[in-house]
Symmetry: C2
Subunit: 221 residues, 2 copies
Amino acid sequence: MAGVRGRPRASASPTGLTTEQDIRLAAARLFCTEGYGSTSTYAIARAAGISQAGMYHHFAGKHEILLALLLETVRPSVELCEELGRRSEPAAGRLWALCAYDTRLLVSGDDNLGALYLLPELSDPRFAPFHVERQRLLDGYRDLVAATLGSAGRGQSGNADLHGLTSLVFGLVESVILRRRSEPGLVAGDVDVRIADAALRLLGLDDDAVRRARADAPTPG
Amino acid sequence: MAGVRGRPRASASPTGLTTEQDIRLAAARLFCTEGYGSTSTYAIARAAGISQAGMYHHFAGKHEILLALLLETVRPSVELCEELGRRSEPAAGRLWALCAYDTRLLVSGDDNLGALYLLPELSDPRFAPFHVERQRLLDGYRDLVAATLGSAGRGQSGNADLHGLTSLVFGLVESVILRRRSEPGLVAGDVDVRIADAALRLLGLDDDAVRRARADAPTPG
């Protein structure tokens, strides 16, 4: 079936996107407004403007679409982590850049994909690839938190503390998922700068150190 | 119907709880493991060990059970806010106490009720009482954040900044909802102290001020 999946369809999409992108967008909207459990593959295909059979050419089922959507919320940030690992800017600046980028990613798009993190269905082993990627992202945060604490002379408190502080920073970034529901202005605002600043203050950096980190932050590319 | 709802049933519950508590517990478990959309009132009644008709004596439908569960996650903290408003301890200590208490509330219980905040169904007007209570809690946080910033000499940056900082603190506390999914040790740990400390550092308080706030924090009750 690998040769069949992803083949172009006969008629062009009115959105100008690929069929796979149409399916992802339609599913994202339905999962976030109707709920994952209440959404059928038939409803997804209809909203994407294709037949159910056409949908199965691209995805083995709705779990595979959900997995693809979940991966979209972490993979770009994991890639940025890898890039930041090769850069020479001070650690606090690189951590600032990661927090700001990851926040922008989580508030981007019309649908709050991060809300899908809390679905009970995510315990299913079929979503393991998402959990693996999210763990890689958390590891990336941990490395940058450790380097930031080291440079700031605050890194002597041991591994338990490093874990705890990393979880606080990671949780602060992901908190925009919960905030998107009740703060409609969040997307357009300066929430990326606010979260990144707050992440460094949370690690004990003072106002001057936070300003320096913001100035040192490499621009992702 | 008001006289009928809540009447004692013929046979005693094997859990020793009231029928209403049995229903809440059963529904919480099903909503958090099977999903709200996938849970029927029949399944809730069965898990609670009563008939469907018996369930309707207590709740008009599953939305009413969900509302009751959601209110459980905010009302105790709203009540603490009111108590803290009458106390004379320094503002930073009172804010510390609120963050720690609210965190403990959100990580308490066997089921992660906060995960229900992200259900698409919560846009339904029937859940307005929850949104009202959560807004009251946010207002309580804002008053304590403003007082804390004022005492720390950091309160000159205007209202937009106060809103932004309050949302950061509130988001940091609620981030434990997202963390409960991937950190099984969160409940037993010292996450309440860590979150409360981090909330004050995020507002720009230094290590000494955070230590003082922790010592000043009134014990709820």
